[in-house]
Symmetry: C2
């Protein structure tokens, strides 16, 4: 069986890998001022959104990414009331964040309104909470929005961005992490998608930890999870905390020998009043487990020991 016009292929020439999904039809193809957005109906993964040739999400496997970008950080913070989502235009992360009753206000700032319009039409389930009165769906430059945010005003910042090329490049810089730091309250947490340990350890993950620490955060940790339609199928999100939030584990039961788990409202997570498909207390803890090579790469942070 050849890869022909019946397949969508994401080719990563530099990484030497490609991933293909068999398609039934193209549903949408528009160029916004920022990027080209396509939506396909696939044979086995439901609808697929592609931005500038790269897979953004599919119906079938987006649940892992969206749950892991939101529930671990929300169940780590003691009282997450004010949340900003930078990027996230498909609204899947927003939907998960709004499942938390403690959350009083969420601002979502994506640069590209067309992503949200396409998601509303082709991924309506992800947009099911867009009318929640706690949600403000804004379109603009997330970097500027964070820079202009009132200092000490946010509990959580979730950076749900595309890869660090194009409009998202500025989100992977120490300057941006400093602006986030300023906008966070004491105890606040920044979490950012941070690509694949197999493919981007040296180029993105390690520099991100270094830049976050340099920007003043007192601790950082990466969460690992499966993401089939992203390169290598192994993805991370990296958390950084402002001062006291990332407290040491006080409950011995949640401490892995080689991987510290940040303060975790475990009984709240266990008694959550909403449905998940991937997330639970077991996968929350497991996500903090550092593979041996990963642990060694970050061993210069003594608090990661």
């Amino acid at each position: 069986m050849k890869i022909d016009k019946n397949w969508f292929t994401e080719t990563n020439d530099e990484l030497g890998i490609a991933f293909s999904l068999k398609i039934k039809q193209k549903l949408f193809d528009e160029q916004s001022p920022y990027q080209r957005i396509e939506v396909y109906e696939t044979e086995t993964f439901g609808n697929l959104m592609v931005i500038d040739g790269y897979v953004m999400l599919t119906d079938r496997d987006n649940f892992i990414y969206h749950e892991m970008m939101s529930h671990p950080v929300l169940f780590t913070h003691d009282q997450p009331e004010r949340v900003a989502i930078i990027g996230g235009g498909d609204c899947g992360t927003l939907r998960e964040v709004l499942k938390h009753k403690e959350v009083k206000q969420v601002w979502q700032i994506d640069i590209d309104e067309l992503v949200t319009r396409a998601s509303e039409k082709y991924f309506p389930k992800l947009c099911g909470s867009n009318n929640d009165p706690r949600a403000a769906i804004l379109f603009g430059d997330g970097i500027e929005w964070i820079k202009n945010a009132e200092p000490d005003s946010l509990d959580i910042i979730i950076v749900d961005s595309t890869d660090p090329i194009g409009p998202a490049a500025g989100l992977f810089t120490e300057a941006f992490f400093r602006d986030c730091y300023k906008a966070l309250r004491t105890g606040g947490i920044l979490i950012q998608q941070s690509e694949s340990p197999l493919l981007h350890m040296e180029s993105i993950i390690k520099p991100m930890h270094d830049a976050m620490r340099a920007a003043g955060y007192s601790d950082t940790a990466s969460l690992h999870f499966f993401q089939c339609s992203y390169p290598s199928g192994w993805w991370t999100a990296t958390m950084a905390c402002k001062k006291v939030a990332c407290k040491e584990v006080t409950n011995k039961e949640v401490a892995h020998k080689d991987s510290k788990i940040w303060g975790f409202r475990e009984s709240d997570a266990d008694n959550r009043c909403f449905q998940t498909l991937y997330y639970n207390t077991a996968t929350h803890k497991a996500a903090f487990a550092k593979p041996e090579f990963f642990r060694k790469q970050l061993a210069h942070f003594h608090s990661d020991g």
Copy 2:
């Protein structure tokens, strides 16, 4: 960038997905009595072995699979002395098993000698322990070998097979699991590669648990790990124990709320005298974490609760 003759592509038409690696050259292409074996030099993943069009392993990411097929089960068994590997012709699992000093004898039974000959030439690191005096590298039908094995003679059986089509189909049956049960000593453990939770939950993983229980095993559990070059990047191995070995967790510290971790010689694992790249006590425990949908699919086994 198009997928052309400079790429090797594994196409799973039924699953609607394909994975491609950019290649420099083909190094080997022979038909054995059982299957077609190819080896390529890739641009970014080192050498790649392909059997009947399916990726078997690459230099870059085989470490995860081989470590997770061996160290968790060996550090679960109290005293793993006699080990059989069914399949495993590339010898990577054998190498990991032989890192354990407690192991006195390993029989590796692969049906296809050509796999081992190709591995010796193109994956020499994986074959670095082939001359260990504890290792017997046999070529023949693993199903027959297990059927004829002395009852109560093995501590661990590792089924490191290809997908359940072709020569490996018979390894995914209750009859085979019964033969393994007979060959295992009390306390013995069977572990078998069991494909992807995202793609094969209904077709392989759940039926495997059911068949293992039906064959008499007192407990079963799947380990989850990343495997970039296999479909979805998310792979499992499923363990089944004969009577007492899969003891309930006695150490509260290793119990996840939603995922029981089998008896674990944690301090032995922590003080292991060999190098690993993925495996450590944190990833051992994390591998047992059951995602929410996975837990619900297997909820009929009350001991998995």
